[in-house]
């Protein structure tokens, strides 16, 4: 898997506690909405809580892992979580850059008429 180099992995700190695992995410590297979206996606894999530090600089994501989850599976889960943070960050970029044109396309599709006045071009 090619590694995205735009966000250094050192931006993310990791703290483990028994079968509860906490992932700390730097909010200077990732927007809080990005972290929320990834937490939603990992809800079925034990992601149970999200809190923001008092200084607003980091988010703590809490995983509750079943005792049957092996160390290797836990590492793989955490790896996918961080990869998904990068992916979600990229989704945010795509969404922001294409939001206006998407609205135009949908309006044009559902209005069933010529809405764009090409005479102004």
């Amino acid at each position: 898997m090619p590694r995205d180099k735009r966000v250094p992995l050192s931006a993310i700190d990791k703290v483990s506690a028994s079968r509860e695992r906490i992932e700390r995410v730097c909010l200077k590297a990732f927007a809080l909405d990005t972290v929320k979206a990834v937490c939603y996606r990992f809800a079925a894999e034990g992601c149970q809580g999200l809190s923001v530090s008092d200084d607003g600089m980091s988010a703590e994501v809490r995983f509750r892992l079943a005792s049957t989850v092996s160390a290797a599976e836990e590492q793989a889960l955490v790896g996918r979580f961080h990869q998904d943070l990068l992916d979600q960050d990229l989704r945010k970029t795509v969404s922001e850059r294409t939001e206006l044109v998407r609205q135009l396309i949908l309006a044009n599709a559902f209005a069933d008429t010529a809405l764009v006045d090409r005479g102004h071009e």
């Binding site: 949908l106 010529a114 809405l115």
Partner: protein
């Protein structure tokens, strides 16, 4: 778009306003798309028109960052599939909008399928059946003519140019006189309406006889039946007195074919826990019965299927293994010269490879509730879908839209619950769906999520409906992109 409406045009800026960019910006602009990791090497991109593309993450990041080489194959592919546009693709937005509109064409011509539940009586006692009743009292569970007449009025108020009336039960042949009444009234009404009118009876074929076949031949009525596999499996899934359901069904299929023609009977199977170990035997049974297709579908979490804990007997991963094993067998059959189609895959392939809308109720956005089908229950109750009716039999009337005896067609179609369901089932705005790469090939199933999570939108991370769509779609894309021999077979399954 050679012409435009000046008044409407004021509501939108000209295209040039979307093209303002500094000199250091790339020569192309992104069009909206979603993406997801597909495998260890590739990402899946998709857009609202249903186009998809696989590429490496480095290429994805380069495309987003404006660093894609315009001379590269990836660039040309992404432009051709409407993931980006440049000065050489003037019609990109219009074409994309046209494709999006085509994919949603069913909304304009809504409700092509009208299901008449003519009786709940049935000779079978299937443990997963949601609705059937063992009763000798006809008046208790049979639809009457007055109810049928009002329902027929509503059928022809739907704007759909095609109207299919499906008779369901229970076992609908136990109330065949009412089927005759409805068919003849519908034909009379259609002399003025001139719709493309069709009839189908969903029957176990136990009670088929020469008189019924004569009538069906004269009126062009087809049959849909249930065939769960070889005798031991079918009879275990669908017990009836005498344990001869399989023999009767196969005999009924033979008689319908002989009299009405080979294409006038189709079959559906239900996958119970007992089925999961036998995909090949099930497919072989369909071949033996003369079919060239099967629908490998999971058990719905409604009605008696929940009450008798049938749906808890297998998890979704086991169903997917069953599906993959069945598909691998079907593809091998095709490679060996026996044309055979799996219907769910064919539906997904049509969504992947065509802009034409499919009519499959469970994969629509907004949901197919009332837009794809209306159900008229034996007692006059109207439901947004067959699953909604099944849920009602368990005491949950969330998807009951009204009653033909009390409510007008307009009151039923303007039911506030229906509108809330339709609004919240638009995948463009649903949580997670709005950014899901599988969204163009998926849809909403509010009844499923209501039944399994108590919420008609549902939490997608826990949804087996989402898992099925994603994994079946991934399986098919893998076959299309990485297995050339299978690709040739699958392309033949696309039926716009």
């Amino acid at each position: 778009m050679a012409t435009s409406e000046p008044a409407l045009a004021k509501r939108f800026q000209p295209l040039s306003s979307y093209r303002s960019r500094p000199d250091d910006e790339p020569a192309y602009r992104l069009l909206p798309f979603n993406f997801a990791r597909f495998d260890e090497q590739r990402y899946l991109l998709s857009n609202d028109a249903g186009e998809y593309y696989l590429l490496a993450r480095t290429d994805l990041v380069a495309a987003v960052d404006g660093r894609l080489n315009p001379d590269s194959e990836t660039y040309r592919d992404l432009r051709a599939r409407h993931f980006l546009y440049d000065d050489h693709s003037d019609a990109a937005l219009d074409l994309l909008a046209l494709k999006v509109r085509t994919k949603h064409a069913r909304i304009r011509d809504f409700t092509g399928l009208h299901i008449f539940v003519v009786t709940l009586r049935c000779d079978y006692s299937c443990p997963y059946c949601q609705v059937s009743r063992q009763s000798e009292d006809q008046s208790a569970y049979d639809m009457d003519e007055a109810t049928a007449l009002t329902a027929l009025e509503y059928v022809f108020k739907s704007p759909s140019p095609t109207v299919k009336i499906e008779f369901q039960g229970g076992e609908p042949l136990l109330n065949f006189p009412l089927i005759r009444f409805i068919v003849e009234r519908a034909e009379r009404l259609n002399q003025a309406e001139k719709r493309d009118l069709a009839f189908v009876i969903a029957s176990n074929l136990s009670f088929i006889d020469g008189e019924i076949l004569d009538y069906c031949e004269a009126h062009g009525i087809g049959f849909s039946t249930s065939l769960d596999g070889p005798a031991h499996l079918h009879d275990a899934n669908r017990p009836r007195p005498g344990r001869d359901g399989h023999r009767r069904t196969r005999e009924g299929i033979r008689r319908v074919r002989e009299r009405l023609g080979p294409d006038r009977v189709s079959a559906l199977m239900t996958t119970t826990a007992a089925s999961l170990a036998e995909p090949r035997a099930i497919i072989d049974e369909y071949i033996d019965a003369g079919f060239h297709s099967v629908f490998l579908r999971p058990l719905s979490p409604y009605g008696f299927a929940v009450k008798t804990r049938q749906t808890e007997k297998y998890d979704f991963e086991r169903f997917l293994r069953f599906y993959r094993e069945g598909m691998d067998y079907i593809l091998a059959l095709n490679r060996n010269g026996w044309p055979f189609v799996e219907h769910y895959s064919a539906l997904m392939l049509t969504k992947l490879l065509s802009v034409q809308p499919t009519r499959y109720v469970d994969l629509q956005s907004p949901a197919g509730a009332a837009i794809s089908a209306l159900v008229y229950n034996y007692d006059g109750g109207v439901y947004a879908s067959d699953e909604g009716r099944m849920l009602a039999e368990m005491g949950d009337e969330t998807f009951r839209l009204g009653d033909v005896h009390k409510d007008s067609y307009e009151q039923i179609l303007l039911n506030p619950t229906l509108h809330a369901v339709l609004e919240e089932s638009l995948t463009y705005g649903a949580p997670e769906c709005y950014q899901c790469a599988f969204q163009p090939f998926c849809g909403s199933d509010p009844v499923y999520h209501h039944a399994t999570q108590g919420d008609w939108v549902g939490h997608k991370a826990f949804s087996a409906f989402c898992a099925r769509t994603q994994q079946v779609t991934s399986y098919l894309i893998h076959k299309l992109e990485d297995e050339p021999a299978d690709r040739e077979i699958l392309l033949d399954w696309v039926r716009p």
